[in-house]
Symmetry: C2
Subunit: 428 residues, 2 copies
Amino acid sequence: MNSNSTYTSPRAEAEDKAAKARKAAASLAVLTTEQKNEALELIAAALVQRTPELLAANEIDLQRGREGGTPASLLDRLKLTPERIVGIAEGVRQVIVLPDPVGNTLQNIQRANGLQITQVTVPLGVIGMIYEARPNVTVDAASLCLKTGNAVVLRGGSAALQTNLKLVEVLRGALAGSALPPEALQLIEDPSRASADAMLKLNGLLDVIIPRGGAALIRNVIENATVPVIETGAGICHTYVHEDADVEMALPIALNAKVQRPSVCNSMETLLLHREFAAAHLPHIAGAMKEAGVELKGCAETVKLAGDAAQFQLATEQDFATEYNDYILNIRVVSSLEEALEHIEQFGTRHSECIVTASDEAASAFLDRVDAAAVYHNASTRFTDGFEFGYGAEIGISTQKLHARGPMGLPALTSTKYRIQGNGQIRG
Amino acid sequence: MNSNSTYTSPRAEAEDKAAKARKAAASLAVLTTEQKNEALELIAAALVQRTPELLAANEIDLQRGREGGTPASLLDRLKLTPERIVGIAEGVRQVIVLPDPVGNTLQNIQRANGLQITQVTVPLGVIGMIYEARPNVTVDAASLCLKTGNAVVLRGGSAALQTNLKLVEVLRGALAGSALPPEALQLIEDPSRASADAMLKLNGLLDVIIPRGGAALIRNVIENATVPVIETGAGICHTYVHEDADVEMALPIALNAKVQRPSVCNSMETLLLHREFAAAHLPHIAGAMKEAGVELKGCAETVKLAGDAAQFQLATEQDFATEYNDYILNIRVVSSLEEALEHIEQFGTRHSECIVTASDEAASAFLDRVDAAAVYHNASTRFTDGFEFGYGAEIGISTQKLHARGPMGLPALTSTKYRIQGNGQIRG
């Protein structure tokens, strides 16, 4: 594989590679779990064995990034090291030990006319992944898709192109020694937006597109795809602290939700405080956030209650509707659980929402009524994650309601098929 | 409700009604099964009680149709009679007795850190239905959505506008005496294409759009929706008769698949005959199809084997790719199961596919390898239907692989939510 493309257009490349993936998918669907696991083991070994090649290819991307003025934080996400490659290979081995979700019987229906209908799980077919700079996504997506018997068309970001080319070369090399067809892994080598846009229209060749990345990437996929999409990513998450909450419970949960890793979708953007709790504890909460390096914005009542020391900016409607993914927090005082629910209904993205309360009744009302993938009582929203849920792996966190919602483990990469056994039944 | 719209644009109407539905959805989600069933019982009773009003409204549509030269078959689909209204009300009562799929626990996960994660089923939220002339779809969709705690925005065809306005008036009138908010049912009164197109972009207000209707309607939804869609409808279904098949088994199955109701998606468009079977039985099969009023197209070998009497036209590639939904059938001779699988892979729409064979081995290979929602051994493809599967009701037949595949009963109208109970857990 090399990047001297022979294709006449981005569409031609996407179509050709998706067609090859679809052809491979037909044979993947009938492989045994052992065959798939053997292939994954070969992949894990090849990644470690071919570390020098991977580092060399990665260095080309890093060099280009440094020359182009890429920020240090992005370069760090792009960078491979021998330790990181070992970690990526370890991730593949974690997928090997997970149960294979394909071939399970979900239903047996015996009809009066003698028809025996069995609903079984099957691979989705061909999955399109559109993502940005982190090269580990290339291997994660490949291993999750192959484990579930799916072919995959990968389209990573231009910043990681040389790394991705080499990674896919290594992975396909490993598949060549396995029962899995190397064509099951396809990498789009044209990193222009046109190549992603071409993928979005490949109905009949791609069964689903999963975008992973920033808001602009996801929005482009949602707005332009005719292929079904699983939306991931956007998270404006709230923590609501009820009037009866213990500050010793509320503060660590709020701090963790905000600062343990602010750049991710399950971190908190807005803290809602019941008026009585705020009157007693706002200065303490605000001080702790400040100390953790958090810039604070507050509603008018928050600003008043906090006094001068906390240096709040006044939060606007726009602030409440913003996913900061950064050390910035909105605080709003509400007069009731009802008002907190209304705020979350208006500004939440239905990702992860938390109530801190000593009242089981308030907790039940919150968990029943908040419409979100994950609703928490007395725990940090940061736990919305496939690994933290015990799924062992994650292809993303769905923020839509169709097909899969919340952290998506291996079962989210399957569909179903009805197998019907008859003995001549016709419909009357 | 009347059709003197006060909206300034199709978009304004769609947005306003979807927003009202979303507001209603919040209260629907927490209703009990009993409350929902009581509302459905009121709806069933009101439909029968208000039959004269419904017939009068329907007559306006019929009159307009007759004046506009609408074909008799379409007028028949549009027409309400007292008996048909009783049948529609009976359909609502059948939904009442079905189990409520909302509130079921799918998983209990106990984490080592003490987090208790429960995955429960919840309503999807707000469902957009875009459909054509049959007024029974209005009531079917409303009852299925309400039973599952969903609000619904209905957008039927212009031919049934007066009937639909009256139906929704009757349904909302019934809801006014129930625990369910009448705003849970919304009907778009502007039957222009612009109103459907506006619905397709209502991300955040609609959770899913389900199109029901002809190919052009479905294609428009797929190509223009940014809201997630469940694709329904297209069916190029095949019956493959293996070399060892008993003609006494094969002929009734093929005939039933073709002529029992040719206008629907699970009827057969192409019959694939193994060469040995064709050599022995093609004239008999072709004669029986002719006798049933089927126009025949065949591959070159079919035409040769059949002789002059059957009057085959030569089938083109285009014919094999066409969903006739009519008394027309392609017949193709294949030399092996493998060639049948290739034909189905190329031309099938992954809906319903059948093999007729005495060989369990051939049947297994076919059922394993054909990628379709429903794969049959020795039974007519006409059984792909929610009622025939024992689901008691059906909102449509999904032809995509995400979320739901094949006949969609009540569970297809639900999503899930993770409820997480902690005691102060934060992420390390």
